[in-house]
Amino acid sequence: MNYLYLPDSMLLSVEKPGRYIGGELNSVTKEPGEYDVHLAMCFADVYDIGMSHLGFKLLYHLLNDQDRVWCERVFAPWPDLEDKMRASGYKLFTLESQGEAANLDMLSFSLQYEMSYTNVVNMLDLAGIPVLSAERGENDPIIFCGGPSANNTEPMADFFDFFNLGEGEEMLPEIVETFRVCKLKGASRLDTLKEIAKISGVYVPAFYDCVFDENGTFVSLKPKKEFIDVAPERIRKRVVSNFENSYLPEKMIVPNIEVVHDRIMLEIFRGCTRGCRFCQAGFIYRPVRERSPERLVEIAGKLLDSTGYEEISMLSLSTSDYTRLGELTDKLLEITVPKRVSLALPSLRLDSFSFELMEKVSAVRKSGLTFAPEAGTQRLRDIINKGVNETDLLRSCRTAFEGGWSTVKLYFMLGLPFETDDDLIGIAELAHKVLALYDEIHAGRKARRPNITVSVSTFVPKPFTPFQWAPQIPVPEIIRRQNVIKQHLSRRVSFSWHDPETSVLEGAISRGDRRIGKVIYDVWKAGARYDAWQEYLDYGRWMEAFAKNGLHAEDFNRRERSLEEALPWDHVDVGVTKAFLKRELDRARQGIVTPNCAEKCAGCGVTSYGRGICVGKIQD
């Protein structure tokens, strides 16, 4: 099919028109009559980013493998194109059919980061769909979302008709089937949403009352009386019934243009045993479940045949924690080496075993080694439960330097709870020790100049972590702390940091309540889009939108929440209990480390799912 929604003259006048044309290998088109439900997976960022997310592509193929369903893709046009589209009256369009997105039955957004929320609103508007759920009518598509940042539902509650909480692999087929039955029956929008609300893991914001006290503090979120039989008080995160055999596509779209992550991604396990207290992913993706090397190798082989990719990368929160890593690596190498496919093992903990693996896969060029101590002192590393110590780190660096590496990147966070200037100075000192080690190893010899980078991001407290009650430091304090590190850091170490304003906004949204929706609406009205891109973020515009609603970002960031108060995300049950998070916060305060759940169960509550490592079957 050669029809394109946009005229050539427009496509040729923008950057990378290949983003907008679809038709890639393994993309799916269906004929009218082959499907009853027509929906699209939407990503609130540009094609190059969206097509780099495994979950997005996986769910696209999953939906297309359903009977009577056609799922297309929609991405946000880059601003250069959007301006031209708006000027000539073009609407948001789908890639496969090259038709207007507003004509579909449903649009499913994958929410990966808070700063993409203005793009969600902007995309709906560009589609010609009312942006607020309450204003949409019988002929508008149903707009829903899932993904990690959907877990705090409230900031986007005004915009979505429903939320999927948890893993989509089983929920989505149920949703589209329920929708299909409703559509064929001619059910109203409300009746359809009522049916969908009955599916485990679904949250329909319009079915709930959100109560604030006179100070604007969140009080409660309860199902409205009339929806009490369809809307549960708490929505429990969905988990696939069997991870080992859960859906994995055997074919995957291969973009024709360069995207950020352009390779086969193999999700080797889900969840993380480590329990780093700052890490939301470490809690919300529990329980820990692995796929067997046999299944992974089988899928890898099929994907290689169907895509022709030249690289496979393992995907998980911590590759080294995969219990059969050596075996998996060997088995994958058996199929990748003859095909000249390279194998990447990202986020390895660097012990001797990893070095052995890296030698084996040899795909790791001797240019980049990264370590994530996250904090500068052992005291603070214990507080955040990051099980890395200086001795191990320096030992790994020694092995690396002796093995010819000269580039080391060290990742840290600043603004962690209980952080003092000593911890910041500790970051510089740790970097200097790494530098000194390099000098010592190469003493008296002609050596390459070491390339040591300290990269410091700003900690943003997230819901469903032990630090969900903690205050977040404001912009001037972030800048001061960045400067403390800078002042103490040798000029031989390069330093990079995050934009403080982005962190503050991300913080306000990620722990925001329903009032944030008004801010998002207003800032979008004032022109915000592509806020995840530094060149488009206008902090002042955001501050004005907060002020217009009688709010300030600091209301959400600075305040230390009391352990007793109701939290705007209490209606979402991710399995990890609040009691556990409180215990972990208390242990953090005391600097007590909590062991890895592979060693000892910390009683986080996820055992209630009866799956994975919690019940002694890591391969679930």
């Binding site: 290949g18 360069e258 169907s306």
Partner: protein, 247 residues
């Protein structure tokens, strides 16, 4: 090691696949189909593939070429079929042949390329008048000075010697656009893009003073051919110095 030359079309949506991305498209296709490409030696081995001159983004073509090195001999018919099945839509191999040892690169003999050019234009007599003006302009042998990008930057040059023909076999195609043939210099030495040729001739016959920038042009008097705009070009074939069509 056996070298094969593939001639392929780039049509439809594939016109938005850039030259750089094309290399990936072909190497991945080779991997999918189990073609044993010969890889370069060295630290970062890559498949040896040589493409014909880059096609500008947005242009379709029936005369694109790639030379590939295979580790062993293959039946060309079968190879063609395999490639057709595996390449993404819009990239369509049309023929394939084994290269003789010592045969040069595909671009070596190329001196010209033949195109079909589409322009948008008003309806009616003005089209005839336009084509007449183009014809007279070329016959006059006068220089056609126009701004042209070269390795050393943008320069105003006479492109007339690079135009073998322009405006032949006119036809009115879809959407009321005017299309016609053109044969322009193409190759390693001199190269004239259809869009640039159009701009040069258009300015000349419209009496545009090209020493002035676009902003300085007098817009108050519409030119005789206002409304004529370059839309697209389709490459048909490469020609050698004797104007013979390439395989």
């Amino acid at each position: 090691m056996v070298k094969y030359r593939i001639r392929f079309c780039k049509t439809g949506r594939a016109k938005y696949v850039s030259h750089l991305d094309l290399l990936k498209v072909f190497t991945r296709c080779a991997r999918r189909t189990g073609l044993d490409l010969e890889y370069s030696q060295g630290f970062n081995p890559h498949a040896e593939m040589v493409f014909s001159a880059p096609l500008p983004l947005g242009m379709t073509s029936e005369a694109e070429y790639v030379d590939i090195d295979l580790t062993g001999e293959r039946d060309t018919e079968e190879l063609l079929e395999v490639l057709i099945k595996s390449l993404p839509s819009g990239i369509v191999p049309v023929k394939i042949r084994k290269l003789e040892p010592g045969e040069g690169s595909v671009m070596k003999p190329v001196r010209y390329a033949a195109y079909r050019i589409s322009v948008s234009c008003p309806e009616g007599e003005v089209r005839e008048i336009f084509l007449d003006a183009v014809g007279r302009c070329l016959e006059s042998g006068e220089a056609v000075m126009t701004a042209k990008k070269s390795k050393s930057g943008v320069k105003v040059v006479d492109i007339r010697p690079m135009i073998l023909s322009f405006g032949s076999d006119p036809a009115v195609c879809e959407g009321g656009q005017l299309s016609f043939g053109a044969v322009l210099a193409c190759g390693n030495e001199v190269n004239l893009r259809p869009e640039v040729a159009f701009r040069g001739i258009f300015d000349k016959i419209s009496g545009v003073d090209i020493s002035k920038s676009a902003d300085e042009q007098d817009e108050s008097v519409p030119g005789p051919f206002s409304g004529f705009e370059f839309v697209s070009a389709h490459k048909l074939v490469f020609l050698d110095s004797e104007k013979n069509e390439l395989w």
